[in-house]
Symmetry: C2
Subunit: 342 residues, 2 copies
DNA sequence: TCAAAAATGATTTACGTACCTCAAATTTTA
DNA sequence: TAAAATTTGAGGTACGTAAATCATTTTTGA
């Protein structure tokens, strides 16, 4: 009744342990007829390879680098925390994680950081950065050097990256749109879209999804031209004041990406407490507090734990040449209200 | 640069391998001062035990039973599917899962099923069933026999169960309430609450949270007395027709638990397409379709994959006498709209 | 201070798989 | 049919830890 081992397979198939090993690890030097016999025994006994024992015997060590923005964004902070957490889990078994902060908005600096990665020691890289021609070329070089590469949070679809790990940002924008539209009294009013910068692909896609839903489902809502603050708190205050001066009747705000701290502080300073319907992205200490006190109506977020675990699984599968379960790697778009905060 | 092993710890601490083993596995027969020295070496070298090697050496096998309702509920179906999926994962490494269908609504039958579990062979049980005095006593007997016991989906707080794996159902009811309230035009109208039966603890708690939010945040909404269908499709049609006859102006529906298929079919039959704001629980093929076609506005759900993985982690930790990371075991209340369907 | 008790060391086997070497058997080719 | 090539067998070591035995050292108590 105990689980069958390679020994059982060998006995059942009437071959030696070495031959079973050759078949299981698809080494050559085995006749087709013998391969069939062994695989028949494997099926008959319901053998499943003990992966922990296999990895132990292989004593394979993985090293992956995570290149994250070096700015003080709280979202990146939660990502870093998730990476630290996962190091204690069995997910990160036999893998070491290198956390590399980089000026991801500066293509030149980013390329330098990526070029400095030791191809001998590192098996793969996860990159969270906006797509640029320079990055695209560098990703191609990393791939050529045999590294696995995944894009994190923001996709680089035109690069040679192996996978994208993150949410469908168009759908996330649509989700924000539906919520904002339905939360606005009478489903109408003016809505301001606030962006850190419209360069990153995720912001563009969110804006697209949001706009599409607004124009198709909410004719009574007027989406004002997006304002950008470039992660500058002072600038955030100025553009907001200008927007409210031009449109005192703004009823809702959709913040596309980071910079929520400055946004929320400016709103408070301007005397806007809970009279606006505000929807932001990414659950962080700041947005959580704002959600709890009612200043923010909803937070669209992604589980950073899932992000890093999925990235690790994909990087490992790629370096081992194994295939993946796509359904397992789909990151969910989560909607957080005050009532369902974890 | 390679990861430290027990040998490195022994050398660093100037003790033998046996002593390191005694400290790591907290066996007795080691002086306090020596324990400190070994633990100092562990900290200094940053040693983390290789759990796969440890489990391999221990050759420990876990057997856990999952007792689930035997009714044809789609939610239970997704749970079963999640259990099958997890068997292929490293989460279920060295553990065999016994799936036991039972008439969980019949205390007598349920107790018989639980009593039939072989205490020698089984290390723990996950139970999804309403709380009854009979079940409470049987849980106590299981605990006395040394089994780990967790309550799944619906809690049994007055029993001796070790943990509850599932969402905070009061919070889930609150979440449903806020969404329904904000989605209703002008935040007002009549709302019908539909339950399979008000016996299960999860239904009661959801109803409580829902009602609390309604009375505190939405004075314009009138919550009609709950109707029960007891998982009977015909009865569902009858109670719905009666409710709509008495209140033709019902604007929203909140379905507390299972029986969504009958509910949605009855609504369609009565000519109610997308004119109502309908909020239901648990993402299943039926509710997914209803969400996609707009018949349902939102689905409050929990990730069944997380449920079973958490249950397995908790059962294993309990049988090993290890402690857990409570934050990791908190199941999230997920809000699904058409736009963020996975 | 000596015997008893407690602590520690040294060593071994085991877990299930990977991977290596070398010899032997079998098949294929000339 | 002999030589060459291929396939298979047998056996070993290794991975990092658990767990056991037994010998030896250190500590404790009277």
């Amino acid at each position: 009744m105990t689980k069958p081992t390679v020994h059982d397979i060998a006995r059942e198939a009437g071959v030696s342990l070495a031959t079973v090993d050759r078949v299981i690890n698809s080494r050559d030097g085995v006749r087709g007829i013998t391969v069939d016999r062994v695989q028949g025994a494997i099926r008959k006994l319901g053998y499943v390879r003990d992966m922990s024992a296999a990895n132990l015997a292989r004593s394979r060590e993985y090293t992956f680098a995570f290149v994250l923005p070096n700015n003080p964004s709280q979202f990146v902070g939660t990502l870093r925390a998730a990476l630290r957490d996962v190091e204690a889990t069995q997910i990160a078994d036999r893998t070491t994680i290198q956390l590399i902060p980089a000026a991801t908005h500066d293509p030149h600096a980013l390329v330098q950081v990526l070029a400095a990665i030791d191809h001998k020691r590192c098996d793969g890289v996860a990159i969270m950065a906006p797509e640029t021609p320079q990055l695209r070329d560098q990703v191609a070089r990393l791939k050529a050097a045999g590294l696995a590469v995944v894009a994190l949070v923001s996709d680089q679809p035109n690069s040679a990256r192996d996978h994208f790990v993150g949410i469908n940002n168009t759908a996330a924008g649509r989700t924000a749109g539906v919520l904002l539209g339905r939360f606005l009294p009478q489903n109408q009013g003016k809505v301001l879209v606030v962006a850190a910068s419209m360069l990153a692909r995720d912001s563009i896609e969110r804006r697209g999804g949001f706009g599409a839903v607004m124009s198709s489902d909410f004719p009574g809502i007027r989406v004002l031209p997006s304002v950008e603050a470039h992660d500058d708190p002072d600038r955030m205050g100025r553009v907001l004041r200008a927007a409210f001066a031009a449109h005192p009747d703004i009823a809702g705000i959709y913040a596309l990406a980071s910079g929520n701290q400055a946004l929320l502080k400016s709103l408070t300073d301007m005397g806007h407490g809970n009279d606006l319907v505000v929807i932001v992205h990414e659950l962080t200490p700041v947005t959580r507090t704002a959600l709890q006190c009612g200043q923010v109506a909803a937070v669209i977020t992604q589980d950073v734990g899932h992000l890093v675990r999925s990235a690790l699984r994909l990087l490992r599968a790629r370096t081992d040449g194994q295939d993946i379960v796509p359904a397992q790697e789909r990151i969910r778009i989560e909607i957080m209200l005050r009532e369902n905060l974890p």
